[in-house]
Symmetry: C2
Subunit: 344 residues, 2 copies
């Protein structure tokens, strides 16, 4: 245990637990939806950042290499956007063994029918077409998620509104465990709802996603950024420059809202576009400039870190050791409360 971990254990900053399934490199949607706020949160909290490979395995059986390969990619994205591994604890879920142990303890405290009623799981089962063939590990992953949060006594969990049932499930398990052992061992958490809406894909679809081919990766090259903005969905009825155009659902304007710091200029552009006389190419050129400028330092840092993958692994190893020490402390309290501390 490093002195850093010791000192942060005794800190009074709130504990934040968040992370990503490593199934592909992160993109602009992640940046605006979570990464940016994490960079801020690391100054005011003890932030644990989970590279959720164990969780990704639950619906990637047979595609385990995709998951393990992307652990390093996501770590590179974290470092590139400015997550500081001295301030945030970045760790690999599968390598913190206490999380398996706590998951198995919590599995006894929830019924199968309760898990089946979880709306998030219901929707994901539908999306994945699992129907009756739901892998047991997938149905039970909210329990594993509860273990991730409670092992670190996470108090704040940044989530989208679709993830609220997960928070509820976690707190139910916390109360059930504490009631079972008749002491306050685990800690309830609270959601931190993202203030920004979800960023659409460049094709206008509701969700930006690598697998849909409508994303802009954080490590995108200047040419890729240029091409993505060029392909962006605008107003299909805005055929001539002189025509009035529509701003709602126009991805270029949605992106300007998300990334252009000059609100007044954006408002003016919107008004001009709406009354007609402003071509898509002008608006796109502005957006491209902003994205190029924003992504340039991220890409450069990413390339720097990517040159020394050994050093990135060393960062992850240190973070994982720090996380393990914290989780081990919680697990020892859990085991003591259950009498599972035979050897002291």
């Amino acid at each position: 245990m490093s002195s850093n971990a010791t000192s942060s254990t005794s800190s009074t900053l709130p504990v934040v637990l968040t992370g990503d399934r490593p199934t592909g490199p992160l993109h602009l949607g992640h940046y605006i939806g979570s990464l940016k706020s994490r960079v801020a949160l690391q100054e005011t909290s003890r932030q644990f950042l989970l590279l959720a490979d164990t969780q990704a395995m639950t619906d990637n059986v047979g595609r385990h290499q995709k998951v393990t390969d992307n652990v390093l990619e996501v770590a590179l994205d974290y470092l590139a956007v400015g997550i500081d591994p001295e301030k945030s604890t970045i760790f690999i879920q599968s390598q913190v063994r206490e999380l398996y142990e706590l998951s198995m303890v919590l599995l006894n405290l929830v019924t199968v029918s309760r898990l089946e009623r979880n709306p998030t799981i219901k929707e994901e089962i539908r999306l994945r077409g699992f129907e009756r063939d739901i892998p047991a590990g997938f149905l039970t992953y909210p329990v594993s998620q509860a273990a991730d949060i409670t092992a670190f006594k996470g108090q704040l969990v940044p989530v989208g509104s679709d993830q609220l049932p997960m928070i509820e499930q976690t707190n139910e398990l916390v109360r059930k465990f504490n009631a079972t052992v008749d002491r306050e061992v685990l800690v309830e958490c609270k959601e931190v709802l993202s203030e920004t809406g979800r960023l659409p894909g460049i094709d206008g679809k509701a969700k930006m996603s690598k697998s849909l081919g409508n994303s802009i990766a954080l490590g995108a090259t200047p040419a890729e950024i240029k091409q993505a903005v060029h392909r962006m969905y605008t107003d299909p009825n805005h055929l001539r420059v002189d025509d009035p155009g529509q701003v709602e659902g126009n991805v270029v304007f949605t992106f300007l809202d998300a990334f252009d710091p000059d609100r007044d200029a954006v408002a003016e552009l919107k008004a001009h576009y709406t009354r007609g006389g402003l071509g898509d190419s002008v608006v796109k050129r502005r957006l491209e400039g902003i994205l190029q400028e924003m992504l340039e330092p991220i890409r450069t840092r990413r390339e720097e870190f990517a040159k020394d993958r050994g050093e990135v692994l060393a960062i992850l190893k240190r973070g994982t050791e720090r996380a393990s020490a914290v989780a081990a402390q919680t697990m020892s309290e859990v085991n003591a409360a259950l009498g599972l501390n035979y050897f002291g």
Copy 2:
């Protein structure tokens, strides 16, 4: 890792995995059904004996102390009947952390509906009255059992015929895992069916069980043994000594069949009892003598070990360390196959 463990790792003896849920001290039914053969098996196999506290927790939420208290009681029973901790590895399931990890890996490889179809689980859900409120940990315990067996690359698993679906489930998971990673990492196991039938309770009910109050504990005192034999169910129609008596379903004769080494004498007693003229008290006296003689050294050894609980704990600690080393080796192969060996 002790030198003992090292040498047994390289041994070519078959690996046997078996154990008990520690929910009460063991009794004569366990002795004849499994313990006796384990004493023999430790000479011809690498035997792992699991004190299955994790598994017992799945249907003893809120009664965890009953489970943890009985871990030592069952260990005392093992030592008392002649299990030699230098030949057999006696270990506490909850303390071998690799078992949680392997369980979570295997959970991804089985569907919820497959688990629900398991006949053993179906029957146990019925017996426990769980109906729709099945704890997730209970539904998934066959997966945890598969982890127990495969973590040690168990080849032989002594079971009753009601446990055959568990073996089948384990081997399905072995094949699924090996196919997923495209290498032979885990090993299929084979059942060893018990040759002796199940010993009835002293009340004639099909199953001897502490909770039914119809058992004779291995640590029973002479007075308890005497009283138990006295209370034994015989032939309710055998009212006078002269009457012909029935041997089938007569617990005293069932016990003589199980424990009296003199088969000819038992055959003669049965004939005499059947034609009439032999009183219950004569037969019971014979049985009592045999049980007193058989249980006296077991009780004495049990009392000896019970005097030094610290030493018993030390034995369990050594066994658990030995078991962990073996399980860690398997887990490292499993993780390597899945690419979950980021840090080498």
